[in-house]
Amino acid sequence: MTARRQPQTYITYFLLTIFTLLAVLPFVGILLLSFKDTSELGNGAFALPQVWRWENYVEAWQGARFGDYFQNSVIVVIPAVLIALVLALMSGYAFGTMRFRGDNVLLLLILLGLMVPFEAVIIPLWQLLGTLHLRNTYWALILPQVALSFAFGTFWLRAHFKGIPADLIDAAVVDGCGSWGVLWRVLLPLSTPALLSLIVLLFMWTWNEFLLVLVMAGGDLRTLPVGLALLRGRYATNITVMAAGATMMSLPVIIIYVIFQRHFIRGLVSGALKA
């Protein structure tokens, strides 16, 4: 019955195609632009470059300092995601499988961090990191990010661990597993999809984080989004070099997104509230 094709179905496919193209084509445009010469700007957004100018990328990487920004982004994102992951794994495990005094209060406190916008944190945070002499260090970009990701990750993994049958844990305890053993040998192997979703979401949020870096990092510590937004001098008006920078910055996110899109979307739909 559902296999019967009605005209509506074709209209739906047609509109879906239009809307999908509308979402994707601007990125194709900027990708093509990143290989063009400024003299080709009038040729139409989707005209192929006359010559594929990789020089734009060299110029962005060296001249416009995208190499430095890229390095900063990697230095910040990898530890920020890994530390948050380990901390959230531990607390999500405790909240999801153990009962203890004050668990509700603690959970509500962590929930608060998910609901409150980052704007409500940034000003005292700036002062705090100044007092700790951490402003203009990578720590100023990593630690607050870890703290926010910890809140989200705790909720995410708590929900996941709650869904794992208690019998499994009981059996492991009978077999002589301690609490670490339960987490590492029993729960972790069952958690790959939940962990992947969490990792890709945290990666995307940390990679794209703007306000925190803008406020805390001086010129040498800027990550890609802030570096791109604050391009100065002749590069600020050179749209092809900017396009190359934008493409370089987007590439890691796009690659991870396309590989893990199933995890990405599941996580985004359920977790987008945090962003």
Binding site: T97, P117, I123, S179, F210, L214, A246
Partner: protein, 331 residues
């Protein structure tokens, strides 16, 4: 609340589990953990597992939140000793023209960030009542791309598309509408609409994907029943699809509404922080300028408080609506 909505979001794919989630947040958090039978951890171990993350969270999130509220009652440059001034920041805030301009722009952008994407999503969903779609993976991947990208990159792209000698004006020239062509983002009249459209472009894919997933999981028998009772396509949509999507609409509303309230990165790049003039100025940009360029840190925290309260109130109200719609389902 947010957590509840998140779990609700998780349940988007499995509506059958929705009705089992009808207890209040607290009741559910206190959870009937069956795991307690043979404790695999001593009580203190739970605290040890939570402690390291909680400490970081306390220092870098919780205490700053408390301080934001506290400083909103202080005159403070960010460098000086704060002086207590009672509600002065708030009375100044409500007299501040720029603040009203900014916050009214946030609500103006709700039309583009929230209302239009939800309507577009519903329109598309209305066409596919009970049709199984193939190839959704492909569409879904594409539709989500704008949402995944950094707003900074989105800003760079649309600044190029909207530029005086940019692709949009080229197309207008080509079809003989050169009189319409203009620097869209530099135009006092059109800049807010152009900026808003970028918002719609970011969010519509999200709404479509959420709604389509929801519509595909509506029980087919409901449509059969509706047809037996002589319902036409519109009535099927109005009385079967729309109520079936209530959860998804509320989730989409909260996500996109918060995005409209928190607009920052995109404006920072797209219109260089609110231009031309102040036609696209938004609250977060004003907050940033007051705190970090004007040294009015105390004053800026009062803006952060107002923004936070708006977001919290809307999240809580919507969560209540969700709880109510679930209660109705149970009846």
């Amino acid at each position: 609340m947010a957590g509840e909505i998140q779990e609700r979001g998780l349940a988007v794919r499995q509506p059958s589990s929705l009705s089992t989630r009808s207890q209040s947040l607290l009741a559910r958090l206190s959870g009937e953990t069956t795991l307690g039978r043979r404790p695999h951890a001593r009580p203190y171990q739970a605290y040890l597992f939570i402690l390291p993350g909680l400490l970081l969270y306390l220092v870098f999130v919780l205490i700053p939140i408390v301080n934001t509220f506290r400083y909103s009652f202080y005159e403070w440059t960010g460098f000086s000793e704060p002086t207590y001034i009672g509600l002065d920041n708030y009375t100044n805030l409500f007299r501040d023209k720029d603040f009203w301009t900014a916050i009214s722009h946030n609500f103006f952008f709700v039309i583009f960030y929230t209302i239009l994407p939800i309507l577009l999503g519903l329109f598309l969903t209305s066409l596919l009542t009970r049709q199984r779609l193939r190839g959704m993976v492909f569409f879904r991947t594409g539709l989500f791309i704008p949402y995944v990208m950094s707003p900074v990159v989105v800003g760079i792209i649309w600044r190029w598309l909207f530029a005086l000698d940019g692709p949009i004006n080229h197309v207008l020239d080509a079809v003989g509408l050169s009189s319409v062509a203009r620097p869209w983002l530099g135009d006092f009249t059109f800049a807010p609409y152009a900026t808003g459209l970028v918002g719609t472009w970011i969010e519509y894919g999200l709404c479509m994907v959420i709604f389509i997933a929801g519509a595909q999981s509506i029980n087919e028998e409901l449509y059969d029943t509706a047809i037996v009772f002589g319902a036409n396509a519109w009535q099927q949509f109005r009385y079967v699809t729309l109520p079936g999507l209530r959860q998804q609409i509320l989730v989409a509303f909260v996500i996109t509404f918060i995005a409209a309230m928190r607009l920052f990165d995109l404006i920072f790049v797209l219109t260089s922080g609110g231009g031309p003039g102040k036609t696209t100025l938004v609250t977060s940009v004003l907050l940033y300028t007051e705190a970090f360029n004007q040294n009015h840190a105390g004053y800026a925290t009062s803006m952060a408080v107002v923004l936070t309260v708006i977001i919290l109130v809307v999240s809580v109200v919507v969560t209540r609506l969700q709880a109510r719609s679930e209660a109705e389902e149970l009846v």
